[in-house]
């Protein structure tokens, strides 16, 4: 009989059936379970009720402005990397009603829905996205002004992370210290090896779920505990990928493997605010805002009060905003960032420099989404490298 008591730090083996039991257990506990799924030519984050919906055998090739799926018999369940969606789509949704008020004969009444959000379990969260979550937590939960809607969702979140064993050319978590190993911050983390999964326990909630799973016993491998040597071997899988990422070099005919030299990056950018490169990138930039909206750490929103035609229903609506739109910097009397060059500079200097002053860390995790999903393939690592190579005197 397997030992049924798990504690944070424990490791157990899980097979594909075990993954299904995990999904069933989470659903049984009232969680909405989401994870990687193929939809419309990409691996998005969608509802999962069966492990068979996970993209086993699929890989994603990513480069500036390009994303393609392909099948590969040797690929496991989680050998793809991050797609267009991130945790942000769920914790900080694109559109949200913050308040709702209704008027009748007796006056105005707060009719904001009061029920708590449904608990959410996310399968397949990577190191870069756990780091992005920690950054968004600082933004929405840190300091004096806590965002109640974000907090309510955050408190009901279960994270089933994955340690990457493959990276895309656009991934540069190794430069940002955010991956490819996942954590901290997960409830359970999976490492795929030889057709099964090693599960690391990261929290009490994760331990409780694993204990329940072990008590049930999966028919093929009964959630047995890994010994020290096995843990070391499993831990080395993302470490090996990290070493490979540091050693990657450009090869002709293949997408350039991205990396970012972060040494003194804050001062580098702030002392090059008039660099000609800003105008060169602005000549290519569409100011379309895709980069900011796919970025898992960007947090800008705009709030507007909306009334219906009768005037009896009013609501306060929040939606994503982006520093690439003119609306974002429109103020009484004019626009503070009327040129694309000034808006691109705003994005890059906030993300990589100002963020450090504001939140104590970079705003970039190296997930590569802004590179892939930019319609013209603008690459922030190349922009920084160009400025580093020839800084303004």
């Amino acid at each position: 009989m397997p030992d049924s008591s798990s504690i944070p730090g424990d490791w157990r083996w899980l097979d594909a059936d075990g993954l299904q039991i995990l999904i069933d257990l989470l659903r049984g506990r009232g969680f909405r379970v989401v994870g990687p799924r193929i939809a419309d030519g990409a691996i998005v984050i969608g509802d999962i009720d069966s492990a068979a919906q996970l993209p086993t055998g699929w890989l994603d090739d990513q480069d500036g402005g390009s994303y393609r799926l392909r099948q590969d018999k040797a690929a496991g369940t989680f050998d793809h990397v991050v797609g267009p969606h991130s945790l942000k789509n769920f914790l900080f949704p694109a559109r949200e009603t913050l308040q709702h008020w209704t008027r009748d004969d007796r006056g105005w009444h707060d009719t904001t829905p009061a029920e708590p959000p449904r608990p959410l379990a996310v399968i397949g969260v990577r190191g870069c996205d756990l780091a992005a979550l920690a950054i968004q937590d600082r933004v929405f939960l840190g300091g004096d002004h806590v965002d109640p809607a974000y907090k309510a969702r955050r408190e009901r979140l279960f994270l089933l992370a994955v340690n990457c064993r493959r990276a895309a050319a656009t991934c540069f978590c190794h430069s940002m210290g955010c991956g490819p190993a996942a954590g901290p911050g997960f409830d359970l983390a999976l490492t795929e090896t030889d057709g099964r999964f090693a599960v690391e326990t990261g929290s009490e909630a994760g331990a409780a779920l694993l204990a329940e799973l072990a008590a049930r016993g999966s028919p093929v491998t009964p959630a047995e505990i890994l010994d020290e040597a096995a843990i070391e071997q499993v831990r080395d899988i993302p470490r090996r990928l990290g070493r490979e990422m540091h050693a990657r070099r450009a090869e002709p005919g293949r997408p350039v493997p991205r990396s970012l030299d972060t040494d003194g990056i804050r001062d580098l950018l702030f002392s090059n605010l008039e660099h000609p490169r800003w105008q060169q990138v602005a000549d290519r930039c569409l100011s379309c805002a895709n980069c900011t909206l796919v970025c898992p750490t960007c947090f800008c929103s705009s709030v507007s009060d909306v009334a219906d035609l009768s005037g009896d229903h009013a609501s306060r609506e929040r939606q994503w905003a982006s520093c690439f739109t003119l609306e974002h910097s429109q103020m009484h009397g004019g626009n503070a960032r009327p040129t694309v060059a000034s808006r691109y500079r705003q994005w890059l200097t906030h993300k990589l420099a100002g963020w450090i002053d504001q939140f104590g860390s970079s705003g970039c995790t190296g997930c590569g989404r802004c590179i892939t999903w930019c319609p013209v393939g603008i690459d922030l690592t190349a922009e920084v490298a160009a400025i580093r190579e020839a800084p303004t005197p």
Binding site: A39, D40, G41, A42, V44, G65, S66, Y67, R68, P84, H85, N89, A94, R95, D283, R284, C285, L286, S287, C288, A289, N290, L293, V294, S304, V306, A307, D308, L309, S310, Q319, W320, S322, F324, T325, L326, E327, V340, T372, W373, P375, V376, G377
Partner: protein, 270 residues
Amino acid sequence: MTTVATAKKPRLAVFKFASCDGCQLQLLDAEGQLRAIADQVEIDHFLEARSRSLPGPYDIGLVEGSISTPADIPRILEIRRQCRFLVTIGACATSGGIQALRNWGQVDEFLGAVYATPAYVQSLEKSTAIADHVPVDFELRGCPIDTRQLVELVSAVVVGRRPRVPTYSVCVECKMRGTVCVAVARGIACLGPVTQAGCDALCPAHDRECFGCFGPSQQPNLVSLNGFYERQGASRERLGRLVQSFNAWSPEFHAEHDRLAGGPDTEADR
């Protein structure tokens, strides 16, 4: 901006020039909202919906269609005089519409080819936007316009606030609804990055590229976008056709079409 908030209900009039009536139908299509609109304004002239027509002046004038015949010109001047707040609705009224494709050809040749007695037909050389002839207070884009934006416009004008009609790109709506980008994931040339939002990214959400119904977005960089699509293998002919549709005669799409049609352009190939 002018406010039309008055003690009396504002008087609304809807006018049609060269157009397909689709934008007016969007107003009729506002279903549940139409009654609410009718509660807020007096609909005093809207021939598509009711035969009763009361004379001006009106507080709000919605104008559909482009200026296409000699008779249109004095008519739009008079309508401008009759309306305190003049709003153009749809691609025809804001940029000349699909009928502006004739602006690249010879009207006499078309007339001879299509009509048995061309002498009966009076047509201007070019189909042009309302704003080319009279000052316009606000433009609602789209082919057709979006019902939600129309309701927003009427609600805003009635209470005297600025309508919330964004000028950013369709990509913003695409990302907000979680749609996978057809340009990046499928390599399909999409006009979304240079097209104004408003449709809630309807076409990309149905696996199609954006066709630019809402016209150019704020500061559109067509040269960069099409340069990228060309390097990905799209032909200039295909890209030229993409900008030469409902908003072909908007200054930005017009210039881009002509640039693409003019052969290799060193600036574009940077």
